[in-house]
Symmetry: C2
């Protein structure tokens, strides 16, 4: 694959982040793919930050320390959330604005309702807010030793596409792939789905109640064009997402109502 | 105001949450308004959880303890995030499914880009995901002693509307009000905006770097129908929001592209 070039003929600068933390196998796998396209800088949480959503840190200061990923990629481990990492990288840590943000490879699906809880997706969304084209990449397998080769191949296609074509302002790409070899990438919409939680109530040695939350995903949507359906057919799913949450259809209906 | 009734002629059960924590003046102010319409149950974080976004707690167990708000409202303080509170309340803590979730009154704006970082809005969104009509309420003034009377009046109008008319599945209402008396409530869309962060880099006594994040909101949108514009004209803004983040317009454009 020929290397893409950033502005002024230089190699693209690609910022890599995640929410599983800088020690995760997934971030190394994504950095390897990004490295085929440009210069890689990693800024990622110094520990697991799954399900933090779009949290930002405002009440405590942020710390960073230099870190080598795989004895190969220059990185900084940050005490903050994925969204913090992206803000701090853009404003303080990188020598110039990156040409691309890639976040992942997350260990676990960010399809359907998962994406609103996802730190991986939030890092990419934050990149979009900062004006940088951004992609979130997730693999459905939670196992740290999962075969990420298909997710890497899908990421390679999508990174190539975005470096060549860019993305419209305000739009982030959310890529999910099954573990194992890539069957193909299909555009999809976010499936209507939710978690059905169960709380495992226990009592601690001091006789106080506590709860472990567990849950299973319930699909509320049986059409063929959703991310969850595409994934269940063995393909990687690619969904353009936005952070304008306005429900325009309802807004059109209610605007005449005086409150 | 006549009291609304829930299913089977009983008074509505209204679940009150927030992200500023169960000790905040705002939650008391909202519980007072909710109490005019039905039976109030408060389940809220046991401490400040601003800017946690849609975080959920999966790696540590959740704890709760009974709590009286203002010696008047029965509540439970929860160790988790606002989204956790809503899940736990629905599944474990309430005697029945609530008829309405109200979250707030947040001390600070949740208009424009703020809403994606907001724990207050996430609590309401989580209520919607659970199938309960849900409203987030915020007052623009960060001061704990701010005049919330206008936000209360706006909440009263919107709660009355929702208990009478319901909300479509998947839609949450995001209400913001200036401090002081209410001038009126206007429907609005989420303003395109972002934070321009500044990082105040310092060095600690052990000579290690740390950063305080600060930022100011930049409005990227000068049309009259946005939440931020409505608020700057002195009105409360009411925005229907959704958690389907699919950027349908782009999806329509790219679906033919093979990757």
């Amino acid at each position: 694959m020929s290397e893409s070039t950033g502005a002024k003929g230089r190699k693209p600068l690609i910022l890599v982040c995640n929410d599983d933390g800088i020690f995760s196998p997934g971030i190394k796998a994504l950095a390897e793919v990004a490295d085929e396209f440009g210069d890689v800088e990693i800024v990622a949480p110094d520990r697991q930050q799954s399900a933090v959503g779009h949290a930002v840190t405002i009440n405590v200061p942020l710390r960073t320390r230099a870190f080598q990923v795989d004895n190969r990629f220059h990185g900084q481990a940050c005490s903050g959330t994925p969204a913090d990492c992206i803000k701090l990288a853009h404003h303080e840590l990188l020598r110039q604005k990156p040409d691309l943000v890639v976040s992942g490879i997350n260990h676990g699906s960010n399809a359907g309702i998962n994406l609103i809880y996802s730190g991986t997706v939030s890092a990419a969304t934050e990149g979009t807010i900062m004006g940088t084209p951004s992609i979130a990449v997730s693999c459905l397998d939670f196992d740290e030793e999962a075969d990420l080769s298909g997710a890497q191949d899908a990421a390679r296609k999508v990174i190539g596409y975005v470096l060549n074509h860019g993305l419209p302002p305000g739009v982030t790409l959310n890529l999910n792939a099954p573990a194992g070899p890539l069957k193909g990438v299909k555009w999809a919409r976010q499936a209507n789905s939710r978690y059905v939680e169960e709380f495992d109530g226990r009592r601690d040695p001091a006789n106080r109640d506590y709860y472990w939350m567990t849950g299973r995903l319930e699909l509320l949507d049986d059409s063929e064009d959703t991310d969850i359906k595409v994934l269940s057919n063995g393909y990687a799913s690619l969904t353009p997402i936005q952070y304008d949450l306005t429900a325009y259809r309802l807004l059109g209906e209610v605007e005449g109502i005086e409150l």
